[in-house]
Amino acid sequence: MSRNFDNVWETTSRVFSNTFMLPMMLVVMMAVPTGTMAGESLGVSHELDVELGYAGRGVTYQDGRNVGSIDELATDVKYVISPQITNDLLLRVGADWQRFAFDTSQTGALPDRLQHVSAVVGFDYQLADQWVMRTEIQPGVYGSLAQIGWRNVDAPLFMGAVYLRDADLQWFFGLRVDLRSQYPVFPALGVRWKYADDWTLDFQLPKPRLEYDVNDDLQAYLGASVKAGTFVVGEHFGDMHGNPALNHATVDYTDVRLGPGIAWKVLPTLTLEAEGGYVIYRTWDFFDKHVKLDSHPAPYFQLACHARF
């Protein structure tokens, strides 16, 4: 028998690091009698992802005007529990908190923090022999948590499908839908290709990487990382920044990081990552108010912990 499928664990845990679900399907799934749920411990899986990163000061411009140097502290904590409903269907329920804290400028229209707290609701499903999909929706509050209202409520949808050709090659198709964003629908295509015994091209958004297996437990990589979100700022944000039009405005925040890192599998269920490099692109885009800020490159360092149990 071929035993060449052992690296699937790593593959798929990376593949589905950022995905979601259709509300209607959820209703259908919730209606499934609990008696059909797998009763063993293997029938329920848990995912915990924690990331903490600091980006140094980068000179920032608002529509061409220097508004000072801004640094950033980014935090992301996500927990998902995934009970198996049938042999082909897994439910996903959890929570996610993501926060960007900025050393704000008095002269620029920069929020001091952008964050979201959301539920995670979704499912994984085996569509066909070699196709597996994930759909996930994250309904929650996006923006200033100090003033929570309906304007802050959003529910971005993430859908992904994987074609598992074999143990060394998988193709990914993804879609992000966020009706509040400047780009409400964002498609993505990716591939994971272990093209040599030690080397893997893991080209998937939001974290495309070129990986080198130092040994069975340690991996070095050169990668990029895209952090993005759509948020609504506070009702007096514009007043405080000299532009009342920005009160309750929607802002698309995007930063792109590039740098090397290492991933250490401390335990079979726990991986720690450390990476550093440069934030090569960072923008706050109040797109419907035609106000945009962007930063010069700045160094960053990030630690992450990924547990699967």
């Binding site: 028998m1 071929s2 035993r3 060449n4 499928f5 052992d6 690296n7 699937v8 664990w9 593959t11 798929t12 845990s13 593949v15 589905f16 797998a38 063993e40 411990s41 293997l42 029938g43 329920v44 899986s45 995912e47 995934s82 198996q84 042999n87 082909d88 897994l90 994984d124 085996q126 022999d129 070699q130 597996v132 994930r134 994987v162 598992l164 050709r165 074999d166 143990a167 272990k194 040599a196 015994d197 030690d198 079979p268 269920t269 699967r308 149990f309």
Partner: protein, 346 residues
């Protein structure tokens, strides 16, 4: 079919088999009784489709299973004959370095094709892990005593050829113990104070397959798979070994195949009772029926694969589904290699 079986099974045609009272059987009705294939479209099988089904979650945390069904345009007897001439090393996608049958009693020379090439990355991995074992770490599937023996052997000469010979010696001793005592002779793997018994792993997986156990009861009973370790099979076993790339790691294994004629068809049990790394143990059950459909005659083959691997304990959720999907793809690759060989070498 299974990598080990591809080589070992070839002796099956001439092997002494135990026969139960003859009766004609309907493969489709039989499949419905014990397999996950409740509706089988024979037309699709005859066109060359390989039906597959990922098994449900097991209570046994290290286990995973799949089922396959396919058509071979040869009679059951001819299927076995073809295996006699099929060399899996010819199919490069299977990444088999070497394989062969074992004499009874086993001889050290049976493993003469085992060579470790440090230029080959997966083999280099095995060389490095062997040297690590010599330094006291238990990262391969060995007993403490075997690890010490391997370490002593490697200390004398750590060249790749010498390390290959050390492994040949270890395999010879394990194969000899199995030939004398059956599953009772299989030594456990010792990892961080734990004892992992391949026989226990195999039985744990099979015991969860109620309908399959019922279908294969005579075969499983005669091979000691359902009983105690001390039972030695009353069937004529065919022993073998193979050396292959499993997940970019060179792995050596030892296996045995048992065959039972049941009326007009055959049942087989193929066990990997030892693997140096990557997985603990594996069992594959086959049932092969003759089929006649118009002008076409051949065999319907059902196979169920049961694999116990260390990583499976930690592989849950979508990762486990993906594991099963890829396991099926890898087994299909093997089946297609065999079918291609039949087509290209009539």
């Amino acid at each position: 079919m299974k990598r080990l079986s591809t080589v070992v099974i070839m002796w099956l045609c001439g092997a002494v088999t135990t026969t139960v009272p003859s009766h004609a059987s309907d493969p489709l009705e039989n499949l419905k009784k014990f397999s996950d294939f409740q509706k089988v479209d024979v037309k699709r099988l005859l066109e060359g489709e390989i039906l597959s089904q990922r098994g449900p979650l097991m209570n046994f945390p290290n286990g995973i299973s799949t089922q396959m069904c396919f058509f071979v345009p040869l009679s059951p007897e001819e299927v076995f004959k073809r295996h006699q001439s099929w060399d899996p090393t010819r199919c490069s996608s299977l990444k088999v370095y070497a394989s062969g049958g074992l004499s009874t009693p086993c001889q050290p020379k049976d493993f003469k094709k085992l060579h470790l090439n440090p230029e080959d990355h997966p083999m280099k991995w095995l060389l490095e892990k062997t040297l690590t074992t010599a330094s006291g770490k238990m990262e391969l599937n060995l007993t403490r005593s075997e690890a010490h023996e391997l370490a002593a052997c490697v200390r004398k000469d750590s060249s790749p050829d010498a390390i290959g010979s050390c492994w040949a010696r270890l395999l010879f001793e394990r194969a000899t113990a199995f030939q004398l005592k059956g599953l009772g002779g299989v030594l456990p793997y010792e990892t961080e104070g734990d004892f992992l018994h391949p026989a226990v792993q195999l039985r744990s997986m099979l015991q969860e397959q109620g309908k399959i156990i019922q279908e294969f009861a005579p075969l499983l009973q005669k091979t000691g798979m359902l009983g105690h370790d001390t039972e030695v099979s009353s069937l004529q076993p065919l022993y073998g070994w193979s050396f292959f790339d499993a997940n970019h790691h060179a792995t050596v294994n030892l296996g045995v195949v048992y065959k039972l004629a049941v009326g007009d068809h055959y049942q087989l049990l193929d066990i990997d009772y030892y693997a140096s790394s990557t997985y603990y143990a594996a069992a594959t059950l086959y049932e092969v029926w003759p089929i006649h459909d118009g002008k076409r005659t051949g065999s319907i083959v059902w196979r169920g694969d049961f694999l116990a691997a260390p990583t499976l304990r930690y592989t849950k959720g979508i990762e486990r589904i993906a594991f099963g999907v890829i396991m099926i793809q890898e087994i299909k690759k093997e089946i297609r290699c065999f079918l291609d060989d039949i087509r290209t070498r009539p």
